[in-house]
Subunit: 410 residues, 2 copies
């Protein structure tokens, strides 16, 4: 006997942003059932609701207590699950809403950014046994003290993936406002096309580099428990992107996607004395201030002093500069220079493991366009170059085209 | 060693209707602590929030499932408790919010109108031990299946009283938009004055007759567990009304208050054959239709047929009339007459037990004003007369004055 497929489907805030949109979610749930699958629905709060609640909190007190923020914010998903469950019941579908607690999403106590410790899902298994369609509040859980916690922005993706893992679901579909993961941001690269299949690792690199489709932690979780995740549009019909474990097909292409990141700034310490332990001292001080350094390069020098450049998030620049200036003085460096107008362009692909020459081709393409490379970093499945910010779009489009990612014109 | 007083204080929807009003609640909580009492705060949802959620539900589906309604509506109080708790913490007061579940308010499964089965209050006792100010969500509990339930309109009063009973609190203060219980509705009787002390029984009669200050079930609960309940204004300072067990002071006055009720209509079955079992048949039929009959009179008659009059809620009239007409035909009565323009005026007071002549004086006062009495009913602590609706205000004012309830002019 072939077992009935189990699909976890998750809808984000814009997909449940109004009663009309909740009607459409109900349509889609009904269709899933008609197609013969069992399903569990995971919902976010209505778009705008979380911001409304945060505003109320800030009016109440300048720095709201985090346990109380979780009590407050966790109401948003309860509203949407109740509304969808009652609508489905009104249509004769035996749906029932469940909070994070009722699902058994047990987290640590890091309020507003809790980590899932385990998912019991007992009531969901029972519900499925009884033919009930569970409608589950995303984004929330409880800690061991039975206090409400939330999983941080985008946490509903994580709820859905964790629940899919616990239930050994056949697929976790993340319905959102885009129909999948693209080879590049279509706003920058008009020729970008939707990727049919992408590996967890590639998706992680894409997500952490600014493709905001899936929350990073949910991809890590999916990879760990091998949950096939589909990203699809809740607004139109059609294929989405399947995020899954690496397979040979994926290696056929050297590059899966191109990303751009404008959120870094470059700091250069000029005239660093060439003595042991200097780099450790600089980056130890920066780490103590909880500033993430991304790329580092040290210029080759014939003299006793070198220049050391590294990138930090633009948001941390204000905090970083005085710290760096102090340490530069300490180590008797000449000066500190800051460049904000930089951007990072990256190629990502598991195919790089088997294809050689990707880096060489990337440098060649950029050189042909007259784009100077300021910094380079590489990993097993990624090559990144820092360039002048004004060349970012040009760099992305050129690379996208050169690596054969452009949409085939029909 | 004198023990520190424990006060449960409850604020209704208008008292927490905006951030500014929540600020004022925080002020009052701070003052209670400065005065040396321990306190537990119980809150309703912001005024308007419950209606907003009900509207959303009705847009989702015409007859929303009641379990889902409870999931939806229970979010309102979670918002206010989080906001107040974070504001108090911002002021350096160690407050913490608790949901109905976390308080241990265990109810039956009658969703949207559940009854409290028991209150464990373990976490609240622990919190008080640790010097924490618990801020509790009113109106909600959980059933034995761990599903969220709500206690019906005005249910936050019941939450507060039940929690006060479980904690053996010294007093439960219900802060609302009026400063107490009045001898009559001040909109009708301008000379009405606030009552300092009133017995549970009197309060129950007042509440069920339309004085909307305290939810009836909460008064029953307070009486059962002997919880002293104070009704006071959250908007101004001063004394309120203490609802407590009967004492000798209360018996000094024959009458504690005057109430008026326009919500009844009179049905008369004309020419009812004077045979055994006829009344049982009529009222049995009405009861089967779940219509509450309030007052009944049977006219004395010399013939073999009498007239039978009774009152039913105006809201049930449409349902009641065809049923009564059918039964009237069955028992071979002559006709059925309906009078909607009636009102019931009542005197309430535990003092009636020891003062005779209250009824006689009431009839005399009404007669002097030329007000015809259509029906009379009496109980141990109440006398009610049905009069022509247009005379209700006059009847209330005359009785209020005649029984010495008018405010002493200062």
């Amino acid at each position: 006997m072939k077992s009935v497929a189990l699909i976890v489907q998750k809808y984000g805030g814009t997909s449940v942003g109004s009663i009309e949109r909740i009607h459409r979610v109900a349509d889609r749930v009904a269709r899933t059932l008609q197609e013969g699958s069992r399903t569990v629905v995971v919902l976010s709060a209505m778009s705008g609701e979380t911001d409304r609640l945060i505003k109320l909190a800030q009016q109440a007190t300048p720095t709201p207590d985090e346990r109380e923020m979780d009590m407050l914010l966790s109401t948003g998903e309860r509203v949407t699950i109740a509304l969808l469950a009652m609508e489905l019941r009104g249509r004769g579908i035996n749906a029932r809403s469940y909070t994070g607690r009722q699902v058994g999403i047990i987290t640590d106590s890091a309020h507003t950014n809790a980590r899932i410790a385990r998912v019991t899902a007992d009531r969901i298994r029972e519900a499925l046994e009884e033919g009930i369609v569970p409608v589950v509040a995303g984004f929330q859980g409880i800690n061991e003290q039975s206090d409400v916690t939330t999983l941080g922005r985008g946490g509903s993706d994580l709820s859905a993936v964790a629940l899919a893992a616990a239930l050994k679901a056949d697929r976790c579909i993340i319905y959102t406002d885009v129909d999948g993961v693209y080879t590049a941001d279509p706003n920058i690269v008009p020729a970008a096309r939707r990727i049919d299949r992408i590996s967890y690792e590639e998706m992680l690199e894409m997500a952490s580099l600014g493709a905001k489709v899936l929350q990073t932690r949910s991809v890590e979780f999916a990879a760990k428990f091998n949950v096939p995740v589909e990203v699809n549009s809740s607004f139109k019909e059609g294929k989405g992107t399947l995020v899954t474990k690496e397979d040979t097909d994926m290696e056929a292409a050297a590059v899966a996607g191109v990303t751009g990141d404008r959120n870094q700034a470059k700091i250069t310490i000029v005239g660093v004395p060439d003595k042991p332990g200097v780099a450790a001292r600089i980056f130890g001080t920066v780490a103590e201030a909880h500033i993430n350094v991304d790329m580092i390069i040290q210029n080759i020098s014939q003299t006793a002093a070198t220049d050391l450049s590294f990138t930090v998030p633009k948001a941390d620049l204000k905090k970083a500069v005085p710290i760096i200036q102090a340490v530069a003085k300490d180590i008797e460096a000449k000066s500190v220079a800051v460049t904000e107008a930089i951007a990072k362009v990256s190629l990502i692909g598991v195919g790089m493991r088997s294809h050689s020459g990707v880096a060489a081709k990337m440098f060649e393409v950029l050189a042909r366009e007259g784009i100077n490379i300021m910094m380079i970093s590489t990993s097993e499945i990624k090559i990144s170059c820092v360039v002048d910010e004004k060349y970012l779009e040009l760099a992305m489009r050129s690379l996208h085209s050169a690596f054969g990612l452009d949409q085939v014109q029909s």
